[in-house]
């Protein structure tokens, strides 16, 4: 019996530790958190408004023609001559070319907008075109310019440059008479801008200006004449050859514009103080720019009154800091023209940043149509620490996107990150690339529009900044919520 008891006790002592105590081993982890003030803070932007849209509120132009394409424009008519389109031969794009055959009024030749314009007392019009003389027969003088034609079409005023280095106002009744001229150097195959205003009172008052294509005034002449007294007339261009040859002078025309307001300027109203504006043509060229000292700004577009090639183009409005506020995309079916007036609509941001500047909410309005793209700084990121951090933005899945939202969200630091991309309310890219941030000029930029009005989306972003590049080291996440309305 004692023997069995001994075997049991020895077995129990051997196996008991293996069943329990010896199987568990404890190591120790201790974690100490030494709290810090935030080295990165969120701040509201310098300008707490957004640009919603720009709408054209008036147009001075009655007609415009940029002479693009291969066919002569419809609703234009000719008197004499051979008129043709020269694609690629214009100041920008194509041009109209006329070769004098002497078949027009008084031996000249005309091409005109075939819509009668009333010349009642007090009426006033402005007409402008680019013109260049392309060929001059020997021992001859070629005149080329703007024609103000009486109805019926047997008399006209011609405001022209001529190859004998003159800027002229001539009356054709129907034989030509020079009313006034100014001596000015005219270079063959060089574009000039003629700008003329005619006011009908008891007589016809003509003021004519000649500019180079940069808008520098070369000559200014005026004439008062009552040799013809139209009730209505037409606006167009003409070519005339005088001298040994009376035919075959050649001239080209571009950027024809006629209206009843000042066609040299595009006006933008309702701007915030200090805002900047740029007009960009459809070819990407800067046509005009300026800064507003009041709520209204006039931009001189004399050098290209039918902006670009007479289609689309953009108007970019900027905050006084130079950051974009709005991109207005003119539709391809229309042109941006001298004499246009646009009005800007803006809205105020509502920004709430917590007491530690580590959480931000910004509610703001954006464009309700794809013709305008709202661009703004939603949040400024300041690095209080002297070191560089590495940051990115992440759009979280808790965001709610209303239909018709298009948005790009970018983090701007030492460079611009790639963007979070939302296309028609579908997130195609939810995270930006990483950029280094230091100092106080770091921004969350948004470029966005809705396709319709009365929409609201909530974009829940996380700003992540790390002490080491590529998301390494210590990283901190700040919530930034953008409530975007239209």
């Amino acid at each position: 019996m004692k023997k069995y008891i001994a075997i049991f006790l020895i077995s129990f002592l051997i196996f008991l530790p293996q069943l329990h105590a010896s199987r568990f081993t404890l190591d120790t982890i201790s974690a100490s958190l030494v709290g810090q003030a935030p080295p990165v803070t969120l701040n509201q932007p310098a300008y707490t408004y957004t640009c919603l849209y720009l709408s054209r509120t008036s147009r001075a132009a009655l007609t415009y023609q940029d002479f693009e394409g291969t066919s002569l424009p419809s609703n234009w008519a000719s008197i004499g001559s051979t008129w043709s389109m020269i694609p690629g031969g214009g100041y920008k794009g194509g041009a109209l070319q006329g070769t004098d055959n002497g078949g027009g009024i008084g031996g000249s030749t005309e091409f005109y907008w075939n819509t009668q314009v009333s010349f009642t007392s007090g009426s006033s019009y402005n007409i402008t075109a680019k013109v260049k003389i392309s060929a001059v027969p020997s021992n001859s003088i070629v005149y080329a310019g703007i024609a103000i034609i009486r109805n019926p079409t047997n008399m006209l005023y011609e405001i022209s440059i001529s190859s004998n280095n003159r800027f002229n106002i001539r009356l054709f009744s129907p034989s030509p008479t020079t009313l006034v001229f100014a001596q000015v150097t005219i270079t063959l195959n060089t574009w000039y801008i003629i700008y003329v205003s005619i006011t009908r009172t008891t007589t016809n008052i003509i003021n004519a200006y000649l500019y180079d294509v940069n808008g520098n005034l070369l000559a200014n002449i005026s004439a008062t004449n009552n040799n013809f007294n139209p009730n209505s007339g037409f606006f167009g261009v003409d070519v005339d050859t005088r001298g040994s040859a009376t035919n075959n002078g050649v001239a080209r025309f571009d950027d024809f514009l006629a209206g009843n307001g000042d066609l040299r300027f595009i006006r933008i109203n309702n701007l915030q103080s200090g805002m900047q504006a740029q007009i960009i043509d459809n070819l990407g060229n800067l046509v005009a720019s300026g800064s507003a000292t009041t709520s209204n700004l006039a931009l001189n577009v004399l050098s290209d009154v039918v902006v670009g090639t007479g289609t689309d183009g953009r108007i970019i409005l900027k905050y006084p800091s130079g950051q974009n506020c709005l991109i207005y995309n003119n539709p391809t079916s229309n042109a941006i023209l001298g004499g246009d007036t646009y009005t800007l609509i803006t809205a105020t941001m509502t920004i709430a940043i917590d007491s530690t500047k580590t959480l931000a909410n910004n509610t703001f309005y954006i464009s309700p149509s794809n013709a305008n793209i709202t661009q703004t700084i939603a949040i400024v990121i300041s690095i209080v620490d002297s070191r560089t951090y590495y940051a990115l933005l992440n759009l979280t899945s808790s965001s709610s996107l209303a239909s018709g939202l298009y948005a790009n969200i970018t983090l701007s630091g030492s460079s611009n990150s790639t963007s979070i991309v939302i296309t028609n309310s579908v997130v195609s890219t939810s995270i930006t690339s990483e950029v280094s941030i230091s100092g106080s000029n770091n921004y969350i930029l948004i470029s966005a529009y809705y396709t319709t009005a009365a929409k609201t989306s909530t974009l829940n972003l996380m700003l992540q900044y790390c002490t080491v590049a590529n998301g390494n080291g210590a990283c901190v996440l700040y919530p930034i919520n953008l409530i975007i309305k239209s």
Binding site: I10, I29, A31, S32, Q36, P39, D385, N472
Partner: protein, 201 residues
């Protein structure tokens, strides 16, 4: 007469002595002494801590993510410098299985959790080395053994990664110059070659 009283007392004493001696003899007879030899064959620890990729890298404000190990790599000390909102410390330490012959099972016993009310979340994540898979989480605001399920650490791969996410939520009275409060916690890493039961408290 007196002699008779002494004799009676002696008889009583003798009787008590006899009884006591008898009881002693009866009890002493049940103790048996057998020899037991316990041999402790000390081993190197099969599960140890190691520094992670971000150990001793830059922390906020020029500080360093402090990760230190004792000489046996069985005690891990973290000193971190978080601020308001969500603080993410990835890959600060590794748990390494040095035993190439067997799988171990680990849990964590939070013996002293963070207690500051402004720490609204403190989670230790146990992940694969790449950080793509989370095997378990430990709430450092709650005492006790976590997670519910054992986390296995096989001999291949033999490393698990520790990430720590701490969320500080400021009060309205805190300012951009206010430091997030200090706090500390202690945790035991519990490991065993079996996962059938939990250790006793």
């Amino acid at each position: 007469m007196a002699l008779q009283r002494v004799s009676r007392r002696a008889k009583w004493l003798l009787a008590i002595l006899v009884v006591a001696t008898s009881i002693a003899i009866v009890n002493a007879s049940v103790f048996v002494f057998y020899p037991i030899n316990v041999s402790l064959q000390g081993q190197a620890p099969p599960i140890v801590f190691s520094t992670g990729k971000n150990a001793n890298q830059a922390d906020l404000w020029g500080n360093t993510i402090g990760v230190t190990l004792d000489s046996t790599n069985t005690t891990l000390t973290l000193t971190l410098h978080p601020t308001w909102r969500t603080n993410l410390y990835k890959n600060i330490s590794l748990i390494v299985n040095l035993d190439t012959t067997r799988t171990y099972y680990i849990k964590f016993n939070v013996t002293s959790p963070f207690t500051n009310a402004k720490i609204t979340s403190a989670i230790l994540y146990i992940k694969n080395l790449a950080g793509t898979t989370t095997y378990g989480t430990v709430n450092l605001l709650t005492s006790g053994l976590q997670p519910n399920s054992w986390i296995s650490i096989s001999n291949n791969p033999s490393k698990l990664r520790l990430d720590l996410i701490v969320i500080y939520t400021p009060a309205n009275t805190d300012t951009p110059n206010s430091a997030a409060p200090n706090d500390s916690c202690t945790i035991q890493l519990v490991y065993s070659p079996q996962n059938a039961e939990n250790p006793s408290p």
